[in-house]
Amino acid sequence: MSIVPAVIRSTFTALRKDPLGMAGFVLVSLMLFLTVFAAWLAPHDPLEVDVANRLSGPSLEHWLGTDQLGRDVLSRVLYGGQVALKVALVAISAAMAAGLVLGMMAGFGPRWLDRILVISFDTVRSFPTIMFALAIIALTGPSLNTVIGVIIITSIPVYARVVRTQTQALRERDFILAERAMGASTARILRDHVMPNIAAPLFILASMDVPAVVGMEAGLSFLGLGVNPPTPSWGSILNDGYSYLRNSPWPIIAGGLPLIAVTLGFTFFGESLRDIFDPKLRGKDQGGK
């Protein structure tokens, strides 16, 4: 674990040279800050109804105007971020963890296990996610937890396949053979030697996955299949705004902006992470021979 400070330092050095990556990092940090501290930053109660002022444009009191029930859009957006964050964090962590385990089993274990797992992954991935979600939700009813569950199930194969490929590549490397020659058990090899070497691509994948997951939640909430009203979510804000578009464009703009920001931010940051992790920990000082 002592490699972590070195990694952080070199990440920042590299970020300074990559303006887009830096911009992404700033954007991501900003979004996280606003979301986490929504309770302190939000000027109004997002559930407070004020029908007299419904669908008003931006004003000093309501920076982003109000929605069809007179609720402050800005506050709803800030709190909506918490939903997005919760979904992304929980879903991606769970999918990553499960994908890591299954992927390592597939990549390192016997052939027959690999075949079974790969067939399972392909089967799950062959369902279009939204249809899968619709089917499940039709059975269980709309709820945020169901959304999270669906996202986890459909994301696991993606992570697992990446882990599997990386593990297979490592399997025949000399240092793994050396550990086996010393008598190390498979569990030890996977934990101490395989995992640390495949962690980096996994984190990058996760970072690039955040916008997709947030978008998925927003989409499902937009369809009315996600959060239950009156809980704010960026998707539900978009849905409400869509119905009242002719009265005021502001809810739509307010709901769409954070989605754009999250997507751009995580994508740029994730891409620069990839450049950072790839050559860094594998190369020596550059120099001729």
């Binding site: 002592s2 490699i3 490397r173 000399d174 240092f175 053979l177 050396a178 550990e179 086996r180 020659a181 010393m182 008598g183 190390a184 058990s185 498979t186 030890r188 101490d192 030697h193 640390p196 070497n197 920990l281 594998r282 190369g283 020596k284």
Partner: protein, 324 residues
């Protein structure tokens, strides 16, 4: 009075992907990389196995460490049969045989410090060291590296340094037998001696048996007490290295010995010419397997496999028409 390591008729077979085991006339579905090898190594002795790429010498080394699928034959360490465990349960005999890999940097886990790497063998075998840092320093000093190397990562080591870390790691559990796969490959001539001298010194101090796998005959001449020449998974000749060098009996040995580019510009070169390249392991030549490249081959060589000439302990070879 048993040898430290006694190998009898060892065979390693690898399955080939695709194809049922019995495909009449089709492509073979397995390949015999080691095809019956017998060898003894005593304590304090250095034995070298030489051969070209594809001779199976690296596979032989891996088989002795449980890393290759052994088909048949026997390996005894101090008289006790070495368990062929296909599961990964800890085998105490694993501690007694240590392997050094050809790629010095690649055989070290890239995200671990040298200190952690040196502690690995002890962690694996549950040998509790109260102070792993001190153990690491002790091992490093055994191989002539300073303490500052404890904190380095493999990619920060030069080839020679990484090799020495590999030696240190191999010594961590005080093995009885050290197997070094191409210990001088990739090293500059000016530092090859460092690794070899180190191994000699350790052998003297610890009474190790050393098995060196190499295709570098110049090195073998100096450091090996006995040597074996391997071709297509079998030994064609073995014996005391000085004797083999001065009077090789098998034509392949003679060819290998003469195939050395000489650093003496005035040397008169009398090369035994080899024809062609090593045949594929999938299509072993009939009779004596070397006959396709042998300048002395005659009809009998195509027909029958030559038996072993020479008893154990002497210079032994398999050839119908040996050199004199």
């Amino acid at each position: 009075m048993s040898a430290l390591l006694a190998v009898r008729d060892l065979k390693v077979r690898y399955p080939l992907p695709g194809g049922f085991p019995f495909r009449a006339g089709g492509k073979p579905s397995w390949v015999d990389v080691v095809h019956g090898v017998s060898l003894d190594i005593e304590r304090g002795e250095t034995v070298a196995i030489v051969g070209e790429s594809g001779s199976g010498k690296t596979t032989l080394a891996m088989a002795l460490c449980g890393l290759a699928p052994v088909l048949g034959g026997e390996v005894r360490l101090d008289g006790r049969v070495l368990e062929r465990d296909r599961n990964h349960r800890l085998n105490p005999d694993r501690k007694r045989v240590a392997l050094m890999f050809q790629d010095p940097v690649g055989s070290l886990s890239p995200r671990m410090t040298v200190r952690r790497l040196l502690a690995e063998p002890m962690r694996i075998h549950g040998v509790d060291s109260r102070d792993p840092g001190r153990e690491a320093s002790r091992l490093l000093s055994l191989v002539g590296l300073g303490e500052e190397f404890s904190n380095r990562y493999p990619h920060q080591l030069s080839g020679g340094q990484a090799r020495r870390v590999g030696v240190a790691r191999a010594l961590a559990l005080s093995p009885d037998l050290l197997i070094a796969d191409e210990p001088t490959a990739g090293l500059d001539v000016s530092i090859q001696g460092e690794v070899l001298n180190l191994l000699s010194r350790l052998q003297q101090d610890m009474g190790l048996g050393i098995l060196i796998i190499t295709h570098n005959l110049n090195v073998v001449r100096h450091v090996a007490d006995r040597m074996a020449i391997m071709y297509l998974g079998r030994f064609v000749e073995q014996g005391d290295s000085q004797q083999v060098f001065s009077r090789p009996r098998h034509p392949y040995t003679a060819a290998l010995l003469s195939a050395n580019p000489s650093p003496d510009p005035d040397a008169q070169l009398d090369r035994v010419q080899l024809v062609g390249e090593i045949p594929s392991l999938l299509h072993r030549p009939p009779g004596c397997e070397f006959h396709t490249r042998c300048p002395r081959a005659r009809e009998r060589c195509t027909a029958s496999f030559p038996g072993l000439t020479g008893a154990a302990g002497e210079q032994a070879f398999n050839c119908h028409f040996p050199m004199d």
